[in-house]
């Protein structure tokens, strides 16, 4: 089972001569790393669709280079994917963004990634959990994630120290996570 293998084993299998094994390995590699590249893109690019594009472009480059035997250390595939992500984002920032032709193969890989309906379901669980927080913690989360304010800015707005804001944010997130998990289980 490819899904239980170490990342390096999967990476080496992409370059395998056996076509069936290579295809299964490509899909598994995509399942593991495309979401991470997408998260990286969300941090460094403007929007979710750009992050989606980045994930597809990076994974196509990674798979192509693995197939061509151009990845010297397949056991360090995570570092290679991250490095490729950084280079492609830097390239986009320099205005050299090129639209790679997205092959039909990407659609096959995409089926291995979490469906969007799961995300919507999480949204439905978030509302009651946010409501259940202490007022102070709810305000901190709204200012952090909706108003995009830093801890010092929030501290000044609500009369706390920046350290207390960070501590309150961590506590609020832990409560939210526990609440969502409980609701997911029930």
């Amino acid at each position: 089972m490819m899904s239980t293998c170490e990342d390096g084993v999967v990476a080496r299998a992409v370059a395998a001569h056996d076509a069936d094994e290579a295809t299964a390995a490509e899909t598994e590699l995509y399942r593991r790393f495309a979401p991470r590249v997408r998260l990286f893109g969300l941090k460094h690019l403007a929007d979710r669709s750009s992050a989606d594009d980045l994930a597809q472009q990076v994974m196509l480059v990674v798979i192509t280079r693995l197939r061509a035997g151009e990845v010297r250390e397949p056991d360090q595939i995570g570092s290679f994917v991250l490095g490729t992500s950084r280079m492609m984002v830097a390239g986009q920032r320099r205005g050299e963004r090129r639209r790679t032709a997205i092959t039909a193969r990407v659609e096959v890989y995409e089926e291995a990634v979490q469906p969007a309906s799961d995300l919507a379901l999480d949204g439905m669980r978030i509302a009651p959990c946010l409501e259940g927080l202490r007022e102070r913690e709810r305000t901190i989360l709204l200012l952090t994630y909706y108003a995009d304010k830093s801890a010092p800015e929030i501290a000044a707005a609500i009369g706390m120290t920046a350290v207390a804001v960070r501590v309150g944010r961590h506590r609020a997130l832990a409560s939210m996570r526990e609440c969502i998990e409980t609701r997911r289980a029930s």
Binding site: D7, R32, F33, P35, R36, L39, F40, L42, K43, D75, Q76, G78, S79, V81, L82, L119, D122, G123, I126, A127, L130, E131, R134, E135, R136, R138, T139, L141, L142, L143, T144, Y145, Y146, A147, D148, K149, S150, A151, E153, A156, A157, I158, G159, M160, R166, R169, H170, R171, L173, A174, M176, R177, I180
Partner: protein, 192 residues
């Protein structure tokens, strides 16, 4: 060569990745770890869904909280339809929620000097409690609290006067009433 892998960050530390507080060096450290650790990659994705979910809730007008002008500015940028009221201590206001409102915001003015946090309690004319909130933070020298309620929630409120009482929540001043306001709620109204 394999370097020493950093220990898995906590969920809160990973969630800091999505804030404007994180330094470039800390973000790069989290990225290096996450590309080598599927478990932490899943937690980082979870933190992303959480922050996106909170933003989506606010953007859809589903905010029941005491907020600041930063949140109101963001609501305005997002095109959320906000109805505003403002009251001084002891004042009453005729209020209603219209069919095209998303959020109702009330600026509760008062003298909050020396108060670190307040408790708010909303009671119906009969004395029955409709809502209460404890430990609302406010900065030194604050002269107002900004209360945001989802229009959908207010549409379900009874059409009778409601009294909002603010008390200092510091232990030493627990019984100290800071201000009272009366909302003469006239219900949910349709345009045209």
């Amino acid at each position: 060569m394999t370097g020493t892998r950093m220990p898995c960050p906590s969920f809160g530390e990973l969630a800091d990745y999505w804030t404007s507080d994180i330094t470039t060096a800390d973000a790069e450290q989290i990225e290096a770890h996450v590309f080598d650790c599927e478990r932490c990659a899943r937690m980082l994705a979870e933190a992303d869904r959480l922050r996106a979910g909170i933003s989506d809730l606010a953007r859809s007008g589903n905010i029941q909280a005491f907020v600041t002008d930063d949140v109101l500015n963001r609501l305005a940028r997002d095109g959320v339809r906000v109805r505003y009221y403002a009251l001084n201590p002891g004042e009453s206001v005729r209020c209603a929620v219209w069919s095209d409102d998303d959020v109702l915001v009330t600026r509760l003015r008062g003298n909050f000097a020396g108060v670190e946090s307040v408790d708010a309690e909303m009671r119906l004319e009969s004395g029955e409690e409709w809502a209460h909130t404890k430990d609302i933070p406010l900065p030194d020298g604050a002269t107002e609290l900004v209360m945001a309620l989802p229009a959908a929630l207010v549409r379900t409120a009874p059409t009778i006067p409601m009294r909002l009482t603010l008390r200092a929540s510091d232990t030493s001043r627990r019984e100290r009433i800071l201000a009272e306001y009366v909302f003469n709620h006239e219900g949910a109204l349709e345009r045209g």
